[in-house]
């Protein structure tokens, strides 16, 4: 019994000793003595072809050790037109505005490499890199190697990625108007007028119409050509008969489509996970900032249609669409 007490006291002493250990006080880390670098990815959400992936690449060395000579980014897949590395270093002023200070020559892109040569005598800089996602990268992964060189010939590098590029397509701000450009094709991601729709009736997936009644709320509607019930006074192009499945959604304000403050993103996985069993083929009284999950009659495409705005006077609806090929 006595031995047990001793063990207990010993254990308690150890616990007390550990608990009484003080944390080390914080101290400002000392700066490195050589050229060093760091990088962050600034853009959020799925990487869609045609959009940018944005990075901020920082590099610095002590003032008395030399200056920066060049900064370079090497992507595993060459960026599309519009890919560039900033030649300005930004600081945020007292009003919270980012102000650019030119530190080098405009970037030169050669194949997968984009380079900025410094023109100012600077020892610290943060350059932004905008990689415009090319068509070749669709569904693939892309990685980046950022590197910087100083006047001593020393080089540092920083690897970012891999980042998966989404398979989906995206098209923004298509305007549908009642009795004019009222046909929408998901396969073409395009708005059609009566003449174009008459030439391609099989491509008409949705028909836009605006109706204002005193007894019911109809207003802005997207209806499949197959559903005559909700296409009052609409004469469809001969042969337009697709039944497009249509789940109305409210509150899914995809950031890339809506460009609003909401951090919600529709990604490839969302399309494959959708279940269209029992879905209707129309949606009436569509409101601004609402949307719909859509599947084409042949099941080839699924899309998310977001309503950016509606105009009761002009009888118009502006939509932005993300589309995914299922088969």
């Amino acid at each position: 019994m006595k031995l047990k007490y001793l063990y207990f006291i010993f254990l308690m002493s150890v616990v007390l000793l550990l608990a009484s250990c003080q944390d080390e006080e914080y101290s400002i880390p000392s700066a490195g003595t050589d050229l060093q670098n760091d990088c962050i990815k600034r853009s959020l959400g799925p990487n869609v072809v045609g959009l940018n992936i944005e990075f901020a690449y920082a590099m610095a060395l002590p003032k008395d050790k030399g200056k920066l000579v060049s900064a370079q980014v090497d992507a595993t897949i060459a960026g599309a037109n519009g890919t560039y590395l900033e030649n300005r270093s930004f600081y945020t002023n007292s009003s919270g505005v980012d102000v650019g200070v030119t530190v080098g020559n405009p970037s030169v892109t050669n194949g997968t490499k984009t380079e900025v040569t410094f023109a100012k005598d600077t020892c610290a800089s943060t350059l932004r890199y905008f990689y415009t996602i090319p068509e070749e990268a669709r569904g693939k992964s892309v990685s980046f190697k950022f590197s910087a060189k100083d006047s001593n010939g020393k080089t540092v590098s920083y690897d970012m990625g891999p980042y998966t590029v989404a398979k989906m397509d995206m098209k923004l701000d298509m305007v549908l108007s009642d009795n004019n450009n009222m046909y929408f094709s998901i396969a073409d991601m395009a708005v059609m007028n009566a003449a174009t729709a008459a030439a391609n009736p099989s491509k008409v997936d949705l028909v836009y119409l605006y109706r204002s009644y005193t007894t019911v709320t109809f207003l802005h509607a997207l209806v499949s050509p197959a559903n005559a019930e909700y296409l009052p006074d609409v004469t469809l192009p001969s042969g337009a008969s697709n039944s497009t499945l249509f789940w109305k959604v409210y509150g899914l304000r995809d950031q890339q489509l809506a460009r609003l403050q909401y951090g919600i993103y529709v990604d490839d996985l969302d399309f494959t996970e959708q279940n269209f069993t029992g879905a209707p083929n129309y949606g009436i009284n569509m409101k601004a900032e609402s949307g719909a999950w859509v599947e084409t009659a042949d099941g080839t495409y699924r899309a998310y249609v977001f309503v950016n705005k509606v105009d009761n006077t002009k009888k118009e609806m502006t939509i932005s669409v993300k589309r995914y090929k299922i088969k």
């Binding site: 019994m1 009644y213 209707p280």
Partner: protein, 135 residues
């Protein structure tokens, strides 16, 4: 030491036995069966696939006739509606609502039974859906 341990154990056992003997009856769903005999629907909501209401006005709940009359907007997809019942305290609903419900067969309205907190009173409610007239 032995004496202390024995005393503590005895007290704990007595406490455990006392707590264990108190009766808290639960039903087959693990819900507490109480003494309440009230059995009615206090509010009714009907949501579309976008989780927005499809009612044109508040549903009329008749607790005597045990009916709920609700009018929905013209163009409502009756096959995919999500009914929501608010019940009196401790009551439960049978069958449970686990997903979208098909209300499209207007001739055969859907029925749900409200079961009171003491599980002794059961009242079936019939939900009559009407659609706004076509313009």
């Amino acid at each position: 030491m032995k004496k202390y341990l024995l005393t503590i154990s005895a007290v704990l056992l007595a406490l455990w036995a006392w707590v264990g003997c108190t009766d808290f009856p639960v039903d087959e769903d693990g819900l507490l069966i109480t003494t309440r005999g009230e059995c009615y629907v206090s509010n009714f909501e009907l949501l579309g696939s976008d989780f927005q209401t499809v009612r044109t006005k508040a549903a009329v709940i008749d607790t005597t006739a045990q009916t709920i009359n609700v009018e929905v907007f013209y163009g409502t997809d009756l096959k995919n509606l999500w009914p929501q019942f608010s019940l009196v305290t401790d009551a439960k609903l049978d069958p449970k609502i686990t997903g979208r419900v098909d209300f499209s067969d207007l001739a055969n309205p859907k029925k749900w039974t409200v079961i009171s907190g003491n599980r002794k009173v059961q009242k079936p409610y019939t939900v009559f859906v009407t659609v706004q007239a076509k313009p």
